[in-house]
């Protein structure tokens, strides 16, 4: 690398900045677009640190308890998580048994009974005028805040309250120290795999986006270079000028990206996604990844610029496009897709362990190649299809001819969208497939009850009746069904069953009883509902000796076999012993676990919150859940929503670059558009031509995108042994989003196009 070489590079940089107003706008446009991409990349590069910081904090406050045989310095902990208007609140009741009891991270002193420390988010929620209902539930005095290190994220709702008389109650954990002594194996490897795919899917289009941004205003750049050729620059020199110019855009883009990232980071604590929020300080790009970005982005810019130059000949008297030397060849364009499939295939066949480190690289690489395959295939596809298109009206002819003349730019224009859509479809097929595996119809009957409440600490029949009364007295509650039960150990096995104690009326909620009198006992048959996994355990038999609450009890020989009845929440209590109090005199007076099914008047506002408040007054340990018709692993629905949001954001980002490219192309045709209008061409016909000109490549791009995306998604599902499942709705939504962005871009360019059709365009500068 000689000095003159460097000088020429530097000259290119200066050239980029001195090209007058257009030169500046071009560099600014490129830098902004590259900057947006870089900011996106930096954000992605921050995810490992972000997750690690979060995991570290969450692991440090784990309070799973360490069993009963603990030394001094014991803290009693009760989990009192609750929900308020859709947000989850993490709650703990703490009671120290000695002065040396541990304090949770982020809390300086344990709250005394009747006091609590809260997270800033919860503090705000409580202070809101709408927080009165919640204040009634969390009826403690706020004495402090939980510091950042005790929270998963800035948006987390959490509190630690001081409790008393917790000792001895069921569900109380005994704790010598916070923190996870033996951290688990980390997240589910399947989730990691999904994250790898998600990254690839999001970043591949960003790379395409950056590449497109580098090409902004390329035609005017080429003309400038041609002028330099006239002044005596040789081809190698023009290449270095171009490289310098691209380098300027790339480096400036890095700077802009850093600024956007740093500015955007300050806003990160305002957003909560899937109940996850992050502290700005957590958003630190990992150093190796940052270094990679800093090198790769300018390198990509220079590479693209030089690649473009390969296809044009910059001659002193102008720019000659090297007209396609024959048709595009298909075979190498298929290589990436084939290679991608080849990488994924061994895992599909189950030859490789999908949990390993290597598998992740393999899956990531396979996904990248599949997506790249869409981008490389597209120019061939556009050319091959458009060559055969003809006929049609004037607008159609204009559009087709234009694509025929330059199918490469047409393909390039939409390849970002195609790759983004392909990636999104892959991810969504994958996630939706996993979701369908984890989603069950619960069989809940919402007309019987909408809310369940559970109290595990144990209650005597008298207290159970009192609780029923208080729940029924809550305004808006129509009826309350209760089940009092305890676990029973079956003889000669490790197996457990349940014993429900209740009146005949109460027992009839659980089983179909033809006759029932006080003193009767029943056994619900072991037949499981069909969808449940097969459980070979036998139901308890009459006459068997079982242990319940530490007391032995023989199931009366008179116990009759009955069939289960589905509870309002969709569950059925199979393999369960049902007994009237008279049949179990020794147990009937003991504290039993309670479950309530509550039927609400759902037209009343905040009725669920009122029930939760009543429950909290009964006991902070009483848990209240809404009954859902479909049980969804909320993680998955969140991820699905997240991918869609991410895809749309990405598509909009790509849309901006498309718009810039399109406006560039339109401006090149200013004189032509004006001349055609002078000829009396209908504006409608010309705008329709533009529309077709976009629509044809988009449709052609979306076809391989759907195919590749679905294939990739299905491959990933098959790899992890999930049932194959393609959600047509998701597919449609994604494709529609892709097409919509293109329509939006076309629409947004219309005002400019209409303006360019005005006679001003006929003026010769």
């Amino acid at each position: 690398m000689s000095a003159s070489w460097l000088r020429q590079l530097a000259f290119g940089v200066r050239l980029a900045c001195r090209g007058g107003v257009t030169g500046w706008t071009r560099v600014a446009l490129t830098a902004t677009a590259v900057g947006l991409g870089v900011a996106f990349l930096l954000l992605a590069a921050s995810v490992p640190n972000l997750l690690e910081a979060r995991d570290t904090r969450v692991a440090a406050r784990v309070d799973d308890g360490q069993g009963p045989d603990l030394p001094d310095g014991i803290l009693l902990v009760v989990m009192t998580d609750t929900e308020f208007r859709g947000v989850t609140i993490r709650g703990r009741l703490l009671q120290p048994l000695s002065a040396t009891a541990p304090t949770p991270p982020g809390v300086s002193a344990l709250p005394k009974a009747g006091e609590m420390v809260v997270s800033p988010a919860l503090d705000e929620l409580l202070a809101e005028p709408g927080g009165a209902l919640l204040r009634a539930r969390l009826d403690y005095r706020v004495v402090g805040r939980i510091a950042d290190e005790g929270l998963a994220g800035p948006g987390e709702f959490a509190y630690y309250a001081g409790g008393d008389q917790l000792d001895g109650k069921a569900g109380v954990r005994r704790l010598a120290a916070f923190g996870d002594p033996s951290p688990g194996p980390g997240p589910d490897p399947r989730l990691i795999l999904m994250a790898v795919v998600a990254f690839v899917v999001l970043l591949a289009p960003v790379a395409i986006f950056i590449a497109a941004a580098v090409r902004f205003g390329g035609e005017s750049r080429d003309r400038r270079l041609a002028a330099l050729r006239l002044m005596g620059a040789d081809l190698a020199m023009t290449r270095r000028f171009a490289a310098g110019e691209a380098l300027a855009g790339g480096l400036l883009g890095l700077g802009v990206g850093a600024v956007i990232f740093l500015a955007g980071r300050q806003l990160v604590d305002r957003f909560t996604l899937w109940d996850i929020s992050a502290f700005p300080a957590d958003v630190r790009p990992s150093l190796p990844l940052t270094a990679l970005i800093a090198v790769a982005v300018p390198a990509l810019a220079v590479g693209v610029a030089l690649g473009v130059l390969r296809k044009v000949a910059i001659e002193p008297l102008g720019v000659v496009r090297r007209a396609g030397q024959g048709r595009r060849r298909l075979w190498w364009r298929l290589l990436p897709s084939v290679a991608g499939l080849a990488l994924l295939a061994p895992m599909l066949a189950g030859l490789v362990d999908t949990d390993g480190q290597l598998a992740r690289v393999q899956v990531g690489g396979g996904a990248v190649l599949m997506l790249m395959g869409v981008a490389t295939l597209l120019p061939w596809l556009v050319e091959a299809v458009v060559r055969r298109l003809g006929g049609g009206g004037l607008s159609w002819q204009l559009a087709i001819r234009r694509i025929q003349m330059d199918s490469a730019s047409a393909a390039r224009l939409v390849s970002g969208v195609a790759v983004a859509v392909a990636g999104a479809i892959a991810l969504q097929t994958f996630v939706a497939g996993m979701e369908s595996a984890f989603t069950d119809a619960t069989g809940a009957d919402l007309s019987r009850a909408q809310v369940t409440a559970a109290l595990d600490e144990g209650a005597t029949p008298a207290r159970a009746r009192e609780i029923s009364g208080r729940l029924s007295a809550t305004p808006g509650v129509r009826s309350v069904t209760s089940v009092a039960y305890t676990d029973v150990e079956l003889p000669d096995t490790d197996d457990y069953s349940s014993l429900v104690v209740g009146s005949c009326a109460e027992l009839r909620e659980l089983a179909r009883l033809s006759r029932c009198r006080s003193g009767d006992t029943f056994i619900v048959e072991g037949a499981r509902a069909e969808r449940d996994t097969v459980d070979p355990a036998e139901p308890p038999r009459p006459g068997a000796r079982v242990t319940a609450l530490g007391t032995g009890w023989t199931i009366p020989a008179t116990a009759t076999q009955v069939k289960a009845r589905t509870l309002p929440d969709g569950s059925t209590w199979n393999r369960t012993i049902l007994a009237t109090p008279a049949a179990v005199p020794a147990l009937a007076a003991k504290p039993l676990r309670l479950q309530y099914f509550i039927d609400l008047d759902q037209t009343r506002p905040d009725i669920g919150e009122l029930v939760r408040n009543t429950a909290a007054q009964v006991s902070p340990m009483m848990a209240v859940y809404g009954i859902r018709e479909v049980k969804v692993d909320s993680k998955f629905s969140g991820i699905l929503r997240g991918t869609l949001v991410g895809t749309v954001a990405l598509l909009l980002l790509i849309g901006t670059s498309m718009l810039a490219t399109m406006l560039d192309q339109l401006r090149e045709r200013r004189a032509l558009l004006a001349a055609l209008t002078a000829f009396g061409a209908k504006r409608g016909a010309l705008t329709r031509a533009t529309l077709w000109q976009m629509a044809v490549p988009v449709v052609l791009g979306l076809v391989p995108a759907v195919l590749a995306g679905t294939a990739l998604g299905v491959a990933l599902l098959a790899m992890l042994g999930f049932p194959l499942h393609v959600s047509l709705t998701q597919l449609f939504v994604t494709v529609a989003a892709g097409a919509g962005v293109v329509a939006l871009v076309t629409l947004a360019s219309l005002p400019v196009q209409l303006r360019l059709m005005r006679p001003d365009g006929l003026r010769v500068e």
């Binding site: 004037l394 002819q397 001819r401 025929q404 330059d406 004189a671 002078a678 000829f679 006679p759 006929l762």
Partner: protein, 229 residues
């Protein structure tokens, strides 16, 4: 010149762009079949005058009639239709659609009028023949020379058999030999089909192909010297 009523009648046309008075009270008649040169230094308002006469730009004030139609009151759609059907245009450059073949370019105005593709291209081929550029019919404009391109443009202007062709510096980008050929073909064809030509030029040698000339200076017509014929 024959005494029939003028095709285009302009009275007292004015047009300003901001503070620039591009046209300042211009009156003018264009008669059927006549070739009228509009001369003047650049920036004097020649193109603006042509754009007004052709209904591309609406003047700020004045009267403008084509046959018995009021062009100032006409809507954009009506004026566009008039331009498609009755007028033809030749510009200095940038008027041919680069991705269409020369034949398709010439057929374009007919297709805009709704003529079927086959028929449009048949008529386009005839005009390419007349302008002596049949050999570039299948080529794209970028593959034809400047003079050929300009003749294709003239074929395109004439293919609808308009009553007026507006030509703005049609030889501006050509050398004198090519310019001469273009002008000769343009005026010959126009005279044969009794098409009027409004020929905007600042070059006397181009204006010499006209029947009469007007000179525009600072948005006004200087003389309307009687023609030699």
């Amino acid at each position: 010149m024959t005494g029939d009523a003028p095709l285009l009648t302009a009275r007292d046309l004015s047009k300003a762009y901001g503070t620039t008075r591009a046209l300042d009270g211009v009156s003018l008649d264009v008669r059927a079949g006549e070739i009228l040169a509009v001369m003047g230094p650049s920036g004097s308002g020649k193109s603006t005058l042509m754009h007004c006469l052709a209904g591309i730009v609406r003047p700020d004030s004045g009267e403008l009639r084509y046959r018995d139609r009021d062009l100032i009151a006409a809507s954009d759609a009506e004026r566009s239709a008039l331009r498609r059907g009755e007028f033809g245009f030749v510009f200095q450059f940038g008027q041919l659609v680069p991705e269409l073949t020369c034949l398709e370019n010439v057929a374009l105005p007919l297709r805009m009028e709704g003529v079927r593709r086959k028929e449009a291209e048949r008529r386009a081929a005839y005009w390419l023949e007349r302008l002596d550029v049949a050999d570039v019919a299948g080529k794209r404009p970028g593959q034809a020379s400047g003079g050929q391109g300009q003749r294709v443009a003239i074929a395109r202007a004439l293919v609808t058999e308009p009553s007026v062709v507006f030509a703005d510096e049609p030889t501006g980008a050509l050398d004198s030999l090519n310019g001469e050929m273009v002008m000769r073909l343009l005026t010959e064809c126009a005279e044969q089909s009794r098409t009027a030509v409004v020929l905007v030029t600042h070059e006397p040698s181009v204006a010499a192909y006209s029947h009469r000339e007007i000179v525009v200076r600072d948005g006004r017509i200087r003389t309307s010297a009687g023609s030699a014929r």
